[in-house]
Each structure stands twice: as structure tokens, then as C-alpha cells.
């Protein structure tokens, strides 16, 4: 794993890492500040209903910050994954270091494995540190103390976030294997990200409309259309991660997808236990992991079959 070691050293000294730290730091400061002001009101209700306050540090937003830490991270993680992956192989190729590297006594897959592991490790460590800092600041300034289940929720969410970065890192690496030009690979990766996050909703509605058309006279078709849309949107890692985040960080969430009015009628707002929440998002977590593994596998096979020469 000498490749991973060198890559990590490179990452930690690079401008990219400074930028990552800076942006994540900014997000943390901004959202915690927002959450803190919103939390004072929320805490009042929370203590009355017996709902955990600590996790709201990550999920509550208030003026002037329009997003919570959770939402921000959902938006930022793909960008971070892409930033660390888009030139991993093509950069090595365009600098002419790839033939030199693979002519050393290492397996060819050490190169791509090392790069993936190093990228994920650096992002993972940074993410862990930022989340720790946010928690610490919350505990110190607001005096809210996490319960044991909160800690587990946060850790599971951290793992889910790292897996989610893995999806985008693997995708960006696949682009960097497929396209020899770093700029092309960056544009393709960013394009997929934007397509899924911004135009995703539109896309899913369209596909669902084709799969299960709505007949306005028949209410059942509307329901099945909505179900189809949800199913289609769950092919996208963006949806999977959003659902996982929500279920893990908001203990009151009892179900993902929809519920009819009859189903929530007179339901009492209460928390799910940690294990129940995990059970709720287990499919999402496994799906994200599966996407990461398959994207990486495609990149791996493609890289192994590629000619070494420039």
C-alpha cells in the first residue's frame, strides 16, 4: 500500500485539501451558528416532548443560513468526491508518470486501489474531524449533551456519509479511467452530479410518467405513479443518501416514502430507537455500498485492460 501512503501524503499537502478543509469548516461554522439560534426555540418544544436536542445541531437551520449541516453536506460530498477522483488516473497519464509507476514491482491494481483508499481516507478523516468539532462546539456553547443513541446515530451517519463520498469518488475515478483528458473527466463527473441533484426530480417524474401513467379519474393510478417515482428516484445515490441522513439524524422519522392521511391520523410524535432507524435505512445503506462497489469494479476492470502507453 505504498501507493496509498504516497497519495495520502500528496493529498494532505495539496491545495485541494486546504480548500476542502476551508469549505467544510465554513459550512460547519455557518450551520452550527444557524442551528444554535434556531435550537433555543426548538429546545423548548423538544424538552417538553422528550425528543433529543443534540442531533438538531446537524438538522436545524435558521436565518440567515438557509441550510442545515445535513443538507449542506448532502450537497457538498459529491463535489468533494469528484474533486479527489476526477484526475486520479488521467492525471497520472498526462504527466507521464503512469508507465514509470507500473514498471515498478507492484501489481497494476495497487495503483487504482491505492488511489481510492487514499482519497476516501483523507475525506473520511476530515469529515470525522469536522463532525467532532461541530459536536464539541454544540456541547460547549449550548450545553446540550448527546445521549448514547445520539452518538450511535451520528457514527452511523458518518459511515453512511463516507460510503456516499465513495460513490462519487468511484464515479469520478471511472471517468478519469475512461477519459484521458482530466478536464473531460471532470466535466462528465460534474455533469452527472448536477443531472442527479438538480434535474433529478424532473427526470424521475418523467420516467415515472412513462412507467405508470396517471389517469386523473382514477386515484389509484396517482398512487402507483407516485410509488413508481419513488422507486425510480431510489436508483439515484442522491435520494438514498438524503433518506439515510433524514432517518438517522431525525429520530422522529418513522417511515421513508409516503404515508396516506389515514396512516398518520392521530399518530403520536415519538422517537424511533437507534436500531429501528438503522433498520429503516438498511436497504439504502446497502444500495449505496453496492453502487460504490460496482462503479469501482467497472473502473478497476477498465483500468486493468487499458494499455499503459501514453
Amino acid at each position: 500500500m505504498d501507493v496509498a501512503r504516497k497519495e495520502m501524503t500528496d493529498h494532505l499537502l495539496s491545495g485541494r485539501f486546504i480548500a476542502l478543509l476551508f469549505i467544510l469548516g465554513l459550512v460547519a461554522v455557518g450551520t452550527v451558528y444557524g442551528a444554535a439560534s434556531g435550537l433555543r426555540d426548538a429546545a423548548q418544544d423538544a424538552t417538553e416532548s422528550g425528543i433529543s436536542v443534540f442531533l438538531r445541531l446537524f438538522t436545524v437551520n435558521a436565518d440567515p443560513i438557509p441550510f442545515s449541516f445535513m443538507t449542506f453536506l448532502g450537497f457538498l460530498l459529491p463535489a468533494v468526491g469528484i474533486a479527489y477522483g476526477f484526475d486520479s488516473i488521467s492525471g497520472e497519464r498526462s504527466r507521464g508518470t503512469l508507465p514509470r509507476l507500473v514498471s515498478q514491482p507492484i501489481h497494476r491494481d495497487d495503483v487504482i486501489n491505492g488511489k481510492f483508499v487514499a482519497g476516501l481516507a483523507v475525506i473520511g478523516v476530515t469529515l470525522t474531524v469536522i463532525i467532532m468539532i461541530v459536536s464539541g462546539v454544540g456541547i460547549l456553547t449550548l450545553g446540550v449533551v448527546p445521549e448514547v443513541s445520539d452518538v450511535f446515530r451520528l457514527l452511523t451517519w458518518l459511515v453512511a456519509s463516507i460510503v456516499y463520498v465513495g460513490v462519487w469518488l468511484a464515479m469520478a475515478m471511472l471517468a478519469s479511467v475512461a477519459f484521458r483528458n482530466a478536464a473531460t473527466s471532470a466535466i462528465v463527473a460534474i455533469g452527472i452530479w448536477l443531472a442527479l441533484t438538480i434535474f433529478g426530480g424532473l427526470l424521475f417524474t418523467l420516467v415515472a410518467g412513462v412507467l405508470s401513467p396517471v389517469d386523473t379519474a382514477n386515484q389509484a393510478t396517482e398512487l402507483s405513479n407516485a410509488r413508481a417515482e419513488l422507486a425510480v428516484s431510489r436508483l439515484s445515490p442522491v435520494t438514498l443518501y438524503d433518506e439515510s441522513s433524514t432517518a438517522l439524524l431525525v429520530p422522529e422519522v418513522r417511515t421513508l416514502g409516503f404515508v396516506t392521511m389515514e396512516q398518520i391520523d392521530r399518530a403520536i410524535v415519538s422517537e424511533l430507537s437507534f436500531t429501528q432507524s438503522v433498520l429503516l435505512v438498511w436497504p439504502q445503506l446497502v444500495a449505496m455500498l453496492a453502487i460504490t462497489v460496482s462503479l469501482f469494479a467497472i473502473a478497476y476492470v477498465k483500468f486493468m485492460r487499458q494499455e499503459v502507453r501514453a
Binding site: 500528496d10 514498471s103 497494476r108 494499455e307 502507453r309
Partner: protein, 320 residues
């Protein structure tokens, strides 16, 4: 005869339906510099990649240090230093750091590696700039760093792909001297691939001429010249005259064969003259009779450039 460290028999490589290497045989012994010469796209780099196990041969056998690169690529790469065409380094690391990385990938002992890196940087004359970022290096420096870099692992076999391309003439001399030391002083087997024949031929003990995936000729430069003894000879004439005057005089000296005569200018008053015969008395007589002031006539023999051009032309005629 010492044991060959590179042995290639009937090696074939095709990509889909395009043949890159069409059945070649050669061997390289320790302490020998073997030149693989030929135009771009002749299959030189493909052959090298097969020697290193970076591309799988379609047919034939390759042995490097007694190992099969397709099966034991790691073992081969441990003992072979490969300097790729247009070698690249990590620009944001220093020359020394780049070499350290290589040492680590080769699992060398860090302390030993450090000493070795110092020695090698000294040997290639980069001690002064060892700690500058590679981004600031000139091409010649990069090439020398590349040679130092492949020697970190103390290889038995050194493979250099186009080591002199895009280097200034002075740099070429330095690099060729370095390469010559690798084989003749350190006893390593050296394989150089190049399309720049006149640069590389000076240091090669034996050469193979590659044309379209085949070796069309193989042997020492002298042997190749001898095999062409009935072919053309090359001379350098230093004559104060115009090209037309020189050409007219030379052609009148060999009236029957004048379509085979080539005269090209290679500098002020210097001409490179290709003659179909080794006997030049007629030509000299004609030059004197034409009252041109002949200052020097030098026999360039059948240099490789000529051999190469000739094989290349012959091959084109065959395929045409």
C-alpha cells in the same frame, strides 16, 4: 558466450486485426547495448511493454532474467529498470522525493536507499538540484533524473525508450555516455529503442532494425554494413562549389549510374554524397577536372542511417 538475460522467440502481438509485432527473435547479453531502431509505430514500444509484462504477447515466448514476464511480472519488474518515452515525474515533489517513492515501491531499506539516491544523483550530475521541485527541471535534467530513478533498484536489465528524443545535442552526449557506462562498466544488459539512428548507433554493440513489426536486419553495425557492401557508400565531400556543380561533377565521374547518386548539403561547402560504388577514383578525377577546389573527402562507410533508410526503402518497395 554469456547467458542471455533477454530472450525473445517468435514474439507476436496483434491488436484486434492490426499486427503490431509480427514474430521477432532477439537476445541481449549482460554488458551489451542492444539498439532497437526503427521508425515510429514500428512496434518498438509494444515489444518493450511485452518484455515488462505490461502487455500480454499474442504468441511466442519472452524470457527476462529467466522469468516469463506474462506470469511473473513483479519478479521481472524488480530486476528491470524501464525509462519510458517522455518520462514524467510528480512535478510537485523534488527529484529526491520522486526517487524515494521509487525506492519505497521497490521495498528497499530506507537508509540504504537514501545513500544510493545520493550516489546516483551525484553520478547523473543532479546533486545541486536534487531538492528542487521537478517542475523546475529542464528536459535534459528530467531525462538524467529518469536514468538515476531506474537505477535505484540496481537492475540487471535497463530498458530505455527513446532516451535522446527532444534533448539538446550536448545533453544527448551526456546521456549516451551514461548509458554506455551502464553496460560497459556496470555489466548490465541495456536495450535502447530509438528512431534517431545516428545518435544511438555510436553506443550500440548490436542493433535490430524494426520495420512494421518485423526485424528486417540484426547484428553489429559493422556486420550490417558488410551485408550491404555491394550497396551504396556514403562520403563527406568538402568542396567550394554549388550543389549543381558538385552534382554535375560527381555524375560525370560515374556516367552509367548517375540515377543512384545522392548529393545533399550538410553545411557550408560540405556535401553528403551517396555513391553506388566504393571505387571513387572516377568521381575524384571528375571533381579535379571540373576545377573545383576539393578540400576533403571522408569515407563515412555504410552508416546505420544509410542502412536503415535502405531497409526501410526496400521494405516499402516490397509492400508497394
Amino acid at each position: 558466450m554469456t547467458e542471455k538475460v533477454i530472450e525473445v522467440e517468435g514474439l507476436v502481438k496483434h491488436y484486434d486485426d492490426r499486427v503490431a509485432v509480427a514474430g521477432i527473435d532477439f537476445g541481449v547479453s549482460p554488458g551489451e547495448i542492444f539498439g532497437v531502431l526503427g521508425p515510429n509505430g514500428a512496434g518498438k514500444t509494444t515489444t518493450i511493454l511485452m518484455l515488462l509484462g505490461l502487455t500480454e504477447p499474442s504468441d511466442g515466448s519472452v524470457r527476462v532474467c529467466g522469468l516469463d514476464p506474462a506470469r511473473d511480472a513483479i519478479g521481472v519488474k524488480r530486476r528491470v529498470g524501464y525509462l519510458p518515452d517522455a518520462v514524467g515525474f510528480y512535478e510537485d515533489l523534488s527529484g529526491r522525493q520522486n526517487m524515494r517513492y521509487t525506492a519505497r515501491l521497490n521495498e528497499l531499506d530506507p537508509v540504504e536507499a537514501e545513500n544510493r539516491i545520493d550516489e546516483l544523483l551525484e553520478e547523473v550530475g543532479l546533486t545541486e538540484s536534487a531538492d528542487f521541485l521537478v517542475g523546475t527541471y529542464s528536459r535534459g535534467m528530467r531525462q538524467r533524473l529518469g536514468i538515476a530513478d531506474i537505477l535505484v533498484k540496481d537492475p540487471d536489465v535497463v530498458i530505455l525508450d527513446e532516451p535522446t528524443t527532444a534533448i539538446d545535442p550536448e545533453g544527448v552526449v551526456e546521456i549516451l555516455a551514461l548509458i554506455s557506462r551502464l553496460a560497459h562498466a556496470d555489466g548490465r544488459a541495456v536495450l535502447i529503442s530509438s528512431h534517431l539512428l545516428n545518435q544511438v548507433q555510436q553506443v550500440c554493440d548490436r542493433v535490430a532494425i524494426f520495420v512494421e513489426g518485423e526485424i528486417v536486419a540484426q547484428g553489429t553495425p559493422d556486420e550490417l554494413a558488410a551485408s550491404l557492401s555491394e550497396g551504396s557508400s556514403v562520403y563527406e565531400f568538402v568542396v567550394d562549389a554549388t550543389e549543381a556543380q558538385v552534382r554535375a561533377a560527381v555524375e560525370s565521374g560515374l556516367p552509367d549510374l548517375h540515377e543512384k547518386i545522392g548529393v545533399t548539403s550538410i553545411g557550408a561547402g560540405r556535401w553528403r554524397v551517396v555513391l553506388p560504388e566504393r571505387d571513387i577514383s572516377g568521381v575524384v578525377r571528375a571533381l579535379v577536372e571540373a576545377e573545383l577546389s576539393v578540400r576533403q573527402i571522408r569515407d563515412l562507410g555504410s552508416n546505420l542511417d544509410e542502412i536503415y533508410r535502405r531497409y526501410f526503402r526496400e521494405h516499402e518497395e516490397v509492400s508497394a
